[in-house]
């Protein structure tokens, strides 16, 4: 009976085991390159972003914050977006601020705040929308009622996300 590996380390006396292993390694590397540049690329392109608009409201700020904002400014989330903007200001709406105050008779009223404003910014961005979730830049989730710290190039402020629309 013929040995599978002969005394010279050849399979069935024809090809070296080392050569077979080398061919397997080369084949694995080629397969990895193919998967990286073909299969994974196709997967990435299947999820497309769409334009979305959402609103954030800054409550009770002074006029200097209002003056520091401008249509066209890019918005960044201080904690989560890094150098990637999470939107661009397309509209700025300013209203006199109000604050809940407990009066001496025990009632709580929403009273005006002198020299302060509530500012609503409308932002545009590219996002994935899936199952009711909105992911700006594919990763930054926008949730109504969430309070976050935002930056522009010129200003920093805390704001609440107050609306999302497509």
């Amino acid at each position: 009976m013929k040995k599978i590996i002969d005394q010279n380390g050849r399979l069935f006396g024809k090809i070296s085991v080392i050569d077979v292993l080398f061919l397997l390694v080369v084949a694995a590397v080629c397969a990895a390159f193919y998967v990286k540049f073909n299969v994974l690329d196709v997967t990435r392109k299947t999820v497309d972003t769409v334009p979305v608009t959402y609103k954030i409201t800054i409550y009770g700020v002074r006029d200097y914050t209002v003056k520091s904002l401008a249509v066209g400014d890019l918005i960044y989330d201080k904690d989560y977006s890094g150098e990637q903007p999470v939107g661009k200001i397309t509209d700025i709406s300013v209203q006199d601020a109000v604050r809940a105050v407990e009066k001496t008779d025990g009632t709580i009223v929403s009273g005006p705040v002198e020299g302060c404003y509530d500012v609503t910014l409308t932002l545009s961005a590219q996002a994935i929308r899936s199952s009711g979730r909105t992911l700006v830049n594919r990763t930054y989730e926008v949730n109504v009622n969430s309070e976050r710290v935002f930056n522009t190039k010129y200003a920093t402020f805390s704001a609440t996300i107050t609306g999302v629309s497509s």
């Binding site: 050569d19 914050t65 522009t152």
Partner: protein, 168 residues
């Protein structure tokens, strides 16, 4: 024995060729990486003077009156240089106070305290997303700032940053 002592004869096979190609490709890649390792696509940033305003609230009068144009100020927490005072405006200190009779929230003056608004100029680096002093302090309106100058200190906010474009 005699066969082993015969002259060396190198027979090139297909696996030798594959190994040589792989080694050559790796060598070429390493050379490319090393040659480009010292280079960068980031251009050297140029600084420009940026004017901004800082409001320091509720200062003792002696401290507020000590602020003078020409003072060099710095961040009293991490000692960043913040620039030179160009002008200073003093006004009575105020803070928001609730009127529980009417439900309004109003500004009320604080006795024996002053608010100082400093016009400051500082060389800054500018990127698409931020303006930072050359010492590394990021300027943004609304940011809390702790300032110290010659003989005084205080806490307040940056209340304005000029949007003028860099000079060509």
């Amino acid at each position: 024995m005699s066969a082993k002592n015969e002259g060396f004869r190198w027979k090139l096979n297909v696996f030798d060729v594959i190994i040589m190609v792989v080694v050559l490709v790796l060598a070429a890649a390493l050379i490319l990486v090393w040659r480009n390792s010292g280079k960068s696509n980031i251009s050297v940033m140029e600084s420009r003077p940026v004017r901004y305003k800082v409001e320091i609230s509720s200062m003792l009068p002696d401290g507020a009156n000590a602020i003078k144009p020409g003072d060099l100020i710095y961040d009293s927490v991490k000692k960043y240089a913040l620039g030179t005072v160009e002008d200073v405006t003093l006004e009575p200190a105020r803070r928001l106070s609730k009127d529980m009779e009417t439900g309004r929230t109003i500004y009320a003056e604080i006795p024996d305290r002053l608010t100082a608004v400093l016009d400051v100029v500082c060389d800054c680096y500018e990127t698409e997303s931020s303006i930072s002093t050359t010492s590394g302090y990021t300027l943004r309106v609304g940011a809390n700032v702790y300032i110290a100058g010659p003989g005084y200190a205080g806490a307040g906010y940056i209340v304005a940053i000029s949007r003028e474009e860099a000079q060509p």
